[in-house]
Amino acid sequence: MYEFDWSSIPGSLPLLAKGMGVSLEITFTAIVVGIVWGTLLAMMRLSSVKPLAWFAAGYVNVFRAIPLVMVLLWFFLIVPNLLESLFGIPRGSDMRLGSAIAGFALFESAYYSEIIRAGIQSVPKGQMAAAKALGMSYGQAMRLVVLPQAFRNMVPLLLTQAIILFQDTSLVYVSALADFFGTAAKIGDRDGRLVEMLLFAGAVYFVLCFAVSQLVRYYQKKLKTA
Amino acid sequence: MITMNKVSKHYGSFQVLADCTTHVNKGEVVVVCGPSGSGKSTLIKCVNGLEPFQSGEITVNGVSVGDPQTNLSKLRAHVGMVFQNFELFPHMSIAQNLTIAQIKVLGRDKAEAEVKGMQLLDRVGLRAQALKYPGQLSGGQQQRVAIARALAMDPICMLFDEPTSALDPEMINEVLDVMTELAQEGMTMMCVTHEMGFAKRVAHRVVFMDHGRIVEDDHKDAFFANPSSERAQQFLAKILQH
């Protein structure tokens, strides 16, 4: 039977905490970019200007058709070189990490955009008509009337997506970024205690994600009764 | 045939049924009416155990419904029920809707079930629709199929839970006609309905409910001529104005 030895965990907590900091940083960056860029994409997709709608649809469909791992590899291995050769940036200035985070955010935006599009479409058409009848421009009507209602309906979905996104951050492992999971795996390898470290990492992810998902459920219930 | 003795039911502190006592004799037609939320739908669903109740006793043909030993599926197989929203199975053709329970519950063979199903479809005037799906029929047609589906099980009695309230007005009569015919053939029937014309023509007794209680339980002539409670008088005054 396997003999557990958890002794390497307490000493590595500071490093693991630092890793968790990186994971959370990526998560929040991607959420902010995802919501802003995702909203723009959603509005483009619903816009009557055909080229904009086509661009947004193409963007969303392509990103949703390819695995996150592939996107991260593109942005880790290929995009930095491409940028270097395009803009003549001297080699050696390491853009790989920044690039990986950018890729991650661009990928998640595609998913946010779909949630937001559905949210906007869930607001009755009469609301836009009423806002325009009051003399508002399209932008004003969107900003003041449609989007606030859409976002209220979307909060549970956006939060659920945030949990998925947080779990997805572990995949930056493929780009050698020292996030929580990468750090845990590295320490486990170093100390020959990979089993304990992976179990510990799994438990931490579970507790965090489960707690947040319970919060979302509570919020959803409140939203329903309100 | 059906007896209810002091049946009570509550959700938490909310009393849905309070001490309901009544009966339906063999061959009798009893109409249950009352304002919405009075518990009449819950009452009729207690008869075949679709709604559990906390106290009191219900027997159907001598079998106790509330007894945990009772095989409810077996009991229900012989108590026909017709629902407000028809509840035909949308993924089966009309013919399959009529045969599935005969085959799977009663163990009849397919050919026998089909013959029986077609006879009943004929009877409700829908033989031509046998190969269609429920979604392709009008509401009135669907409800007639639902009645035929229940009859295919050779029920000893029939329960109707507001069978016409989801129908467009012009389709109500085609369903009531089928029900009237059934009553005239001597079927034991318990009907929750607002159709007072039907009650007057067909019912033997009328049960009036309010706030989970049975307020009146009388011969129909007595009920319509001279309801004893004020609630029933108000109810009749409102409903008969139309």
Partner: protein, 246 residues
Amino acid sequence: MGYSWNWGVFLQPSATGDDTYLGWMLYGFKMTIGLSLSAWLIALLLGALVGVLRTVPSKTLSGLAMAHVELFRNIPLLVQLFLWYFVLPELLPKDLGDAFKQSHPVVQQFISSMVCLGLFTSARVAEQVRSGINSLPPGQKNAALAIGFTLPQTYRFVLLPMAFRLVVPPLTSEFLNIFKNSAVCSTIGLLELAAQGRQLVDYTAQPYESFITVTLAYVLINVVVMFGMRWVEARVRIPGYIGGGH
């Protein structure tokens, strides 16, 4: 930009000499398809079972089903994969663990990946099946019981056939996800599509050709699955039945 394109690279003999780079790609493609389909089979069967159990009256059964869903939904796929591949063999009884570790590496990687993806996806399938069953009109269950069906018969003849039609569209997206998620298995060394793409970057000087090909292969899988599922949807459509309110 000074890059010399060379699509002919795929026809060159590979570094190990026994195959062309195109052969590598095809091997990866087959691995992705085989892995995804076998994992999907697990996900569909287990997910359907767990999803049904979540709706049954028994508190014990529905509680167990809920625990299954929460466990596999709240741990990142990559972590689950490492747990299956690196941790589980250590925790198994010694003979079993050793037998696993002595099997061919590709077999080890494939089994871990298949079980991991299958269980991970089963939790998501279960949620779709549950919400499919719950979105059926409650009267359907009553009508089936009233006609004398037992509870298992009610599920078998009435609730499940309808629920499965309702969940075809959401299951399509889970089916697509399993192909995409299979790329995660490159991290334990399984030579599927993404891993082969990465190998080509290391072995040839043609990263663009390799990554573009792999990316297009995923897009192709996506399109084929989407058309396939649309065909399934049309096949199971019920005449006259309008949607399930979704």
